[in-house]
């Protein structure tokens, strides 16, 4: 386990460094000179040369990657020359909105997905089971942007309830929550179906084990068998997937943020792409990628820790 932990952490480092290098070298492959994008095609050549020096565009690519990496580690993500502000400031302003959205969606996934699948699986082959299975698969195949657009049409446009645009402000928590409801649902629906199905499959698997059969033959109450033995064991693979889910939710957030004009990371990257504002694109992609990698790491570790068999092994090692 310790060896695994070290290997996993090393692997994460390698992936992040590769990611950052990839992002840093993005500039080199963009069609057109990034400087002329900012200064316009008829800029003073001396000014262009100066800007190129300031942005280290004339240095070898490895030097650029090194500079980008060492600056990024210190929290300096370059400066956005369209708005003349440090990129890290833009990122920090947008990040909370995206994280709140992803966490809210994750909570929804757990709060709706788990009961949906438990309700169906406790009543095997009933209508409840079939309906919950059918609902799950239909939700899985619903992309977040379709869910978002349909919710937009249904609530703000047709029924005139719930806000359609923006994220509200933190000084008005109720308003902020109102702005959060539709985006969070849109982002969550696909994963609700996915988690419900996954949990159902692993519950069915545990229901078939010999220890459940033994517990039944001992006359243990079905309720206790279900919640104490089956659900507890079945939840382990689901936890692993939830971490991956958090990363995917952050990725999917871009659609939902664009649809509901939420000023999060996704919107930031989207707008920057439209304006070919590459420092912001670089930083945004890097931050989203790093969050994704860490969510995966966290999931991997937590799921190993939740599994008592692994915990026992760890305890033995410590002694």
């Amino acid at each position: 386990m310790v060896v695994y932990l070290i290997r996993r952490l090393l692997m994460t480092m390698v992936v992040i460094i590769l990611l950052a290098s990839l992002v840093a070298s993005l500039v080199h492959f963009i069609p057109g000179n990034p400087v002329t994008i900012v200064l316009g095609p008829h800029a003073n050549p001396a000014l262009v040369a100066q800007a190129q020096r300031e942005m280290h565009l004339n240095d070898p690519i490895l030097v650029q990657i090194y500079l980008f990496l060492s600056n990024a580690v210190r929290g300096n993500l370059g400066s956005d020359f369209l708005n003349n502000a440090p990129v890290s400031q833009l990122i920090m302003a947008a990040l909370p909105h995206t994280v709140i959205l992803a966490v809210a969606a994750l909570l929804l996934v757990i709060l709706v997905g788990v009961p949906l699948s438990v309700y169906g699986t406790r009543r095997p082959d009933s209508w409840a089971d079939r309906i919950s299975a059918a609902v799950s698969i239909s939700l899985i195949t619903l992309p977040p942007y379709v869910a978002g657009l349909l919710l937009l049409i249904l609530f703000p446009v047709t029924l005139h309830i719930l806000p359609a645009i923006g994220a509200g402000s933190f000084s008005d928590p109720v308003g902020y929550l109102e702005h959060l409801i539709l985006p969070a649902i849109a982002l969550a629906v696909g994963w609700i179906g996915y988690i419900a199905r996954l949990l159902r499959a692993s519950m069915l698997e545990v229901l078939n084990t010999s220890y459940v059969r033994t517990a039944r033959s001992w006359g243990v109450k079905e309720r206790i068998i279900f919640y104490k033995y089956v659900l507890k064991n079945a939840v382990i693979p689901t936890i692993a997937i939830l971490g991956v889910g958090l990363g995917q939710l952050i990725g999917g957030a871009i659609f939902v943020e664009v649809i509901f004009a939420r000023p999060g990371l996704g919107t930031l990257v989207y707008d920057a792409i439209q304006q070919r504002n590459y420092p912001v694109v670089q930083a945004g992609v890097l931050v989203i990628g790093v969050m994704f990698v860490f969510a995966n790491l966290l999931a991997d570790l937590s799921y190993r820790f939740v599994d008592p068999r692994v915990r026992v092994e760890l305890g033995r090692l410590r002694r």
């Binding site: 942007y145 349909l150 049409i153 499959a201 692993s202 698997e205 792409i273 694109v281 994704f292």
Partner: protein
């Protein structure tokens, strides 16, 4: 033992040239309700795509400004968009765009992933380690963000969307073929084949490849709908297929601009997308149940 036995079964079920096996497999597929639904959606999409000019009532690009923003009606069955173009015709031609992006993208991913995975699994060692790290890095991005960054580089166009989706999907195929080769390689008959003087090429093509076909087919069926969803999403953001080409994502984007005037474009494009992805996903699941019964419902058992 059981692995060897079941791989023989699988080979019998899908081995090329055995029409009988393919036909009986197809029959087993259609007998399942999800398989029947999936097959009909897939066949329906292919027919719509091929015969779009014969089926579509109007030219999908023909503008008729006075007739803009109509709801569903008798002249325009599903209504019209902001330029008075017939929505039904645009959706039908859209099927063509969706398939012409998704199928080549998946095909490129299969080809590249297969070659990389076979090499990594068969030769192992350094090639294997390097490949695993690269694949991990590619998968360290959410597919959407990876596609966005790449499209930022390449510029938005239909051809680039294909490439970008293919790149995002390559690791899936590299992984599956690598794992499968890795497992099969341990068998004694591979060793004896090598001892008899068979070339690496023969071992890979004759003995290893057939074992990968079943999991590969399942993955292809699962990835095709997600390729469609990815394409539509990128086009919705304006980074994929460009208007006026009637991709379903472009329709969603057009509808979004006019969401307060007329919701119909979004509603029908969403519906098309939902039916297509649901149908193709069900086809994938039915295919998995038929080809590899051990995998049925075992998504939750990925514990190792």
């Amino acid at each position: 033992m059981s692995v060897a036995a079941s791989s023989v079964d699988r080979e019998a079920a899908v081995s090329p040239g055995r029409m009988q096996g393919v036909l009986s497999g197809l029959a087993a597929l259609v007998r399942r309700p999800n398989g029947a639904f999936g097959v009909s959606v897939a066949v329906g999409m292919v027919v719509l795509a091929i015969f779009a000019p014969q089926i579509a009532p109007y030219n999908p690009d023909a503008q008729n400004i006075p007739a803009a923003f109509q709801g569903p009606g008798t002249t325009h069955l599903l209504g019209t968009d902001e330029l008075g173009r017939d929505l039904l015709s645009r959706l039908i031609y859209g099927t063509r765009i969706e398939l012409s992006v998704a199928l080549p993208a998946v095909a490129i991913a299969v080809l590249c992933g297969l070659v990389l995975g076979l090499m990594a699994g068969y030769f192992g060692g350094l090639i294997d380690s390097v490949l695993v790290i690269i694949m991990d890095t590619v998968q360290a991005f959410p597919a959407v963000i990876l596609a966005l960054a790449l499209l930022f580089l390449l510029g938005p166009s239909l051809g680039n969307v294909r490439i970008v989706i293919a790149i995002a999907f390559v690791p899936n195929y590299a992984r599956v073929s690598r794992a499968s080769v890795y497992a099969t390689k341990q068998n004694l008959y591979i060793e004896s084949e090598r001892a008899l003087g068979a070339s690496h090429r023969r071992v890979v093509l004759v003995h290893l490849l057939p074992n990968i076909i079943a999991p590969l087919l399942i993955l292809i069926a699962m990835d095709t709908p997600s390729a469609i969803v990815t394409e539509a999403g990128l086009s919705f953001l304006g980074l994929g297929v460009q208007p006026p080409t009637p991709s379903w994502g472009v329709l969603l984007s057009d509808g979004f601009t006019n969401v307060y005037t007329s919701p119909w474009e979004i509603i029908f494009a969403s519906l098309a997308l939902m039916v297509a992805t649901l149908g193709l996903t069900m086809l994938g699941e039915a295919l998995r149940d038929v080809l590899d019964p051990r995998l049925a419902g075992s998504r939750g058992s990925e514990r190792s």
